[in-house]
């Protein structure tokens, strides 16, 4: 564990913070193109952040300290998660602090804080959003954990960098049937957890259908900016977990040279471009589910993930 590793650790974290809005902008741009709208610029999320940070925060009269604290906590959980996930290199000294189980826990902490903050003002929409978010979360969280467990079974470690190294050290590409089921489950969890279609619509402001938007309805200015940034970071983090588990090629291993690291960043960008376009395509093609159907969607994700685990246990692959 050298000083260079720590530099890269911090660098990767900052890269995630900086790239996350760009990724969200790219998804938005693709969606606009696919839907025959004129697209906002790629850097639109940065403009939004700048605007929000400059504004005065309008705070509801009854807002408590929890309401003001929550955006910082939610943002921080996503930053800490970004530090754990090997998106560019597996030589992450801080990744040992929390393994994949703790990563799911860190995500859950963020979710609980944003739900509590949504209930703080005591408006009808806030508590409705909190309830729905927790409903999505309590099914999506174990599904994500099961996906990670399948990966654990195949690689023998709950530490994400070790999983990536295990996958990359294989001489040729091995197709694990269990990973197929896990992959399907993971995509479903990614959509649900990041408030994407078909569970939630990120661009909706139709009161009765929204989940994520309902929770952050009362936020403004810097608090809203942090929450938006956190949600973009969350999408970025999920994408990186997906890359690490299912297509880790390009991620630099322990002791990689600067050239390889640059290559890893390039590979990450390429993967993000493809994943963002795929996400936009999927969102354009699918319709939003009725809210009561959302648990069915998530139960299916959970069962797929458990099936992946079972398939691994049965076939040993």
């Amino acid at each position: 564990m050298t000083a260079v590793a720590y530099v890269w650790q911090v660098g990767e974290c900052l890269l995630a913070i900086a790239l996350a809005p760009l990724f969200a902008g790219w998804v938005g741009q693709c969606r606009a193109w696919l839907q025959n709208r004129s697209a906002p610029p790629l850097w639109q999320p940065y403009l939004i952040l700048r605007k929000l940070f400059h504004k005065d925060a309008a705070l509801a009269t009854d807002a408590s300290w929890l309401f003001r604290l929550a955006p910082y906590v939610v943002f921080s959980t996503m930053v800490v998660a970004a530090a754990i996930i090997p998106s560019v290199t597996t030589d992450l000294p801080l990744a040992r602090v929390a393994d994949a189980i703790a990563l799911v826990g860190v995500f859950a902490t963020g979710r609980v804080f944003i739900s509590l903050a949504a209930m703080d003002i005591g408006t009808a929409f806030g508590s409705m959003g909190a309830r729905r978010e927790m409903m999505v979360g309590f099914l999506a969280e174990p599904a994500l954990l099961m996906v990670l467990f399948s990966a654990f079974m195949t690689h023998g470690s709950t530490a994400l960098p070790e999983m990536v190294e295990g996958l990359l050290s294989q001489p040729h590409i091995v197709l694990h049937p269990s990973l197929f089921f896990s992959g399907v489950a993971f995509v479903m969890v990614l959509l649900a957890e990041n408030a994407r279609l078909p569970v939630d619509n990120p661009s909706t402001h139709l009161e009765l259908t929204m989940i994520h938007e309902a929770m952050i309805l009362e936020y403004s200015a810097r608090h809203l900016a942090l929450l938006e940034w956190a949600s973009w970071l969350k999408l970025f983090n999920y994408a990186c977990i997906g890359f690490a588990l299912f297509m880790p090629w390009g991620i630099a291993l322990h002791g990689a040279s600067a050239g390889l690291l640059a290559l890893a960043i390039a590979a990450l960008l390429a993967k993000l471009v493809v994943a963002g376009a795929a996400l936009a395509l999927f969102e354009t093609l699918s319709a939003k589910l009725r809210l009561f159907r959302a648990p069915e969607f998530l139960t299916m994700a959970f069962l797929f993930a458990v099936l992946g685990l079972l398939v691994y246990l049965l076939l040993g692959a």
């Binding site: 906590v73 929390a98 806030g126 458990v306």
Partner: protein, 673 residues
């Protein structure tokens, strides 16, 4: 004081006996001036808390490396049947739990108990301290006789505490149900000890350890013990008393019952299945594991739909007990395949979860006590917004809620992490069927943990956040300093175990060394928890705390430095709807609705929906358990009917009874001849 004179040297065991005796003395002193609150609450309860700290200290001493088990024979009990006591790592751990959480509860109780709440304070003080002392004695007992005497004392003293407000009929009913289930369970334990003595008719645990039981009798003893201790701990389907009795008691007593007494049940099962019985077939483990996982999920689902805050916590206790039993079951399973390291890991998870649960559940039950004192309400539907009127209680309750939801970096996460790690190792079980089924238990643990998060957002959000649902709540005042001190003590425990999980792992390592013969892998330093290998798994509570706090601080400073911290207070936005009333927030029924919808068949629901044209619409939903209607009520009817049949024999005429005696004599004569 011949208890003391029976022992010559002062050892932790002697000290413990003195401390237990002083608890009894403090209880008796309560009767001196039973109605003077200044004497009973402000003097005796803090003294009891000091004694509890002493008990915790003595328990901790027995967990230091190099401590050898101490035992002693007391000059008490029946002739030829003296009381045996013994202090080893297992009992020491549970004494540490009892003392450290009990101290916080006692300090809180010092500020909590007031005049005119049913039983006189002095009598309450007696019952309270007898309850504490009997729990300590159960843990110290080294023979079945003392164990059962202390066990029954524990059941009876807690029964009297449950019916403190005996003028309310529901509370009397809850107390009776509790007493009944406690005795059904005690019968199971008594029978289990009867089997364990294995024909030697020696009631000491030493004799039971030495007894050689055939596999069938050993299994009988185990199943009876699982039944008996499961009934005390609240294992489904023996849990029905728990959601009735725990909410009925005053809050410090609810905290003791949920936080401490359930753990005594866990202790009993551990003592019998690991210490008195040495080995067993794998189905013991599978049975315990299955019951534990079922209990955990069941408790979590029911907790999510409760509308009474104390009932919600009681169901949450059932959930946590389920997780603890799942850990014990997994450990038993691994023991039967001689996988010692894995057994040690699962057992460590169960023990640490017991400890954690004692802290966060006591904390939350005490919080409900403060809320009830401040508002007079325990129904979630009439609370809300208390974070503004009770900031201290709200902040401490937040720690407890986050901990019980199993969120890092607090303590609840540590034990769930360990349990999941243990499950992840189970594909290595050398059994073609079990190595596929058991790992799937991890899915249930994950689902339960996620549901616990749901439950806690509901609990905290409905009580402390939002707008007050009743006008009177605006007059709520924060808890007094003694109550705050008790709550802070328990919250501190939650945080410390979350920060230094490796210390907790080292401590329970003494017990796994005693019971399993090995400990889980030690980390490179106290900050790191690496129970298997450092490359496979690692977790550091401290560094996670540092990381999170650092990022939060840096974000805050950067945002303030680069931009500004200006705030403007406005009415809430709420999509521009101007007429907002507190009634428009989610009620507790509303918040539980997705769970009711999703797990519909699990509940027995009675719904009354209003007609759309109804001018005064009323909506009512009653959620009950199937067990009650499909197991317990038929069972009660069966007992009733059998009893009625038997009454035919009992006509009340003396001549008939003489005829019975005569016929019995004739039959005996025929049999002898």
């Amino acid at each position: 004081m011949h208890v003391v004179s029976a022992l010559t040297t002062t050892t932790p065991l002697t000290g413990l006996l003195v401390l237990v005796a002083s608890w009894l003395l403090i209880g008796a002193l309560g009767l001196v001036q039973p109605n003077r609150i200044g004497w009973v609450a402000r003097t005796l309860f803090p003294l009891g808390a000091l004694v509890a700290l002493g008990v915790a200290g003595m328990g901790a001493m027995s967990l230091t490396p190099g401590f050898a088990a101490q035992s002693s024979v007391l000059a008490l009990g029946l002739p030829d049947m003296p009381f045996h006591v013994r202090l080893d790592a297992l009992s020491g751990f549970f004494l540490l739990l009892l003392g450290s959480a009990g101290a916080g509860i006692s300090i809180f109780a010092a500020g909590y108990f007031r005049q005119g709440e049913g039983t006189a304070p002095g009598l309450l003080c007696l019952q309270y301290h007898v309850f504490l002392a009997s729990m300590a004695l159960v843990v110290l007992a080294d023979d079945a006789y003392l164990f059962m005497v202390a066990w029954e004392t524990m059941a009876l003293s807690s029964y009297f505490l449950v019916v403190t407000q005996h003028r309310i009929p529901e509370i009397r009913r809850a107390g009776f149900l509790y007493l009944l289930m406690a005795h059904v369970g005690a019968l199971g334990i008594l029978l289990s000890f009867g089997v364990l003595q294995g024909g030697s008719w020696q009631m000491t645990f030493d004799a039971m350890r030495a007894a050689h039981l055939t596999p069938a009798w050993a299994s009988a003893a185990f199943v009876l013990a699982l039944f008996g201790f499961g009934a005390k701990a609240g294992l489904v389907p023996l849990h029905v008393w728990l959601p009735e009795a725990h909410p009925a008691a005053p809050s410090p007593v609810s905290a003791m019952m949920s936080g401490l007494m359930l753990k005594v049940g866990v202790y009993g099962l551990l003592r019998v299945s690991w210490d008195l019985l040495h080995a067993g077939p794998w189905w013991w483990g599978l049975l315990t594991l299955g019951l534990g996982l079922g209990t955990a999920l069941y408790g979590a689902i029911f907790a999510a739909v409760q509308t009474d805050m104390k009932r919600l916590l009681a169901y949450s206790s059932i959930e946590n007990i389920g997780l603890i039993f799942a850990g014990i079951g997994l450990a038993l399973l691994c023991r039967s395949f001689d996988m010692r390291l894995l057994a040690a890991l699962a057992l460590a998870a169960a023990l640490i979860h017991s400890f954690n649960h004692a802290f966060f559940k006591s904390l939350l039950f005490l919080v409900t006590g403060s809320v009830m004192h401040a508002t007079g309400e325990r129904s979630l539907g009439k609370l809300g917004g208390l974070i503004r009127y009770m900031p201290w209680v709200a902040a401490l309750a937040l720690i407890g809620s986050l901990a019980i939801a199993g969120l890092p970096p607090l303590n609840g996460f540590v034990s769930e992490w360990l349990l999941l790690q243990a499950f992840l190792q189970t594909p290595r079980i050398p059994h073609a069927f079990l190595n596929m089924i058991v790992p799937l238990g991890a899915a249930l643990v994950a689902l339960t943990a996620a549901l616990a998060g749901y439950v806690m957002v509901k609990f905290y959000g409905v009580i402390f956040l939002g707008q007050p649902r009743e006008r009177a709540l605006e007059n709520a005042r924060d808890a007094g300093w003694l109550e705050r001190f008790g709550l802070s003590w328990l919250a501190l425990g939650c945080v410390l175990i979350g920060v230094f999980p490796q210390v907790a792992l080292d401590v329970v390592g003494r017990i796994t060394l005693q019971l399993v013969g090995t400990t889980v892998r030690r980390g490179p330093s106290p900050w790191w928890m690496t129970p298997i290998t450092s490359s496979q798994t690692s977790y550091s509570g401290l560094w996670l705390w540092v990381g999170l706090l650092l990022v939060i601080g840096a974000t805050f400073v950067l945002v303030r430095r680069i931009y500004h911290g200006r705030v403007r207070r406005t009415p809430p936005w709420d999509c521009g709807y101007p007429w907002q009333t507190p009634r428009m927030q989610d009620s507790s029924e509303g918040f539980g609705q997705p769970i009711r919808h999703l797990f519909g068949p699990v509940f027995r629901m009675q719904r009354e929906l209003p007609h759309p044209s109804d001018p005064k619409p009323k909506y009512r939903v009653l959620v009950q358990e199937h067990f009650w209607h499909q197991l317990y009520l038929p069972l009660a009817r069966l007992v009733q009917r059998t009893a009625e049949r038997v009454t035919i024999l009992q006509g009340g005429r003396l001549s008939t009874y003489l005829l019975y005696s005569f016929m019995t004599l004739i039959l005996l004569l025929v049999w002898v001849l």
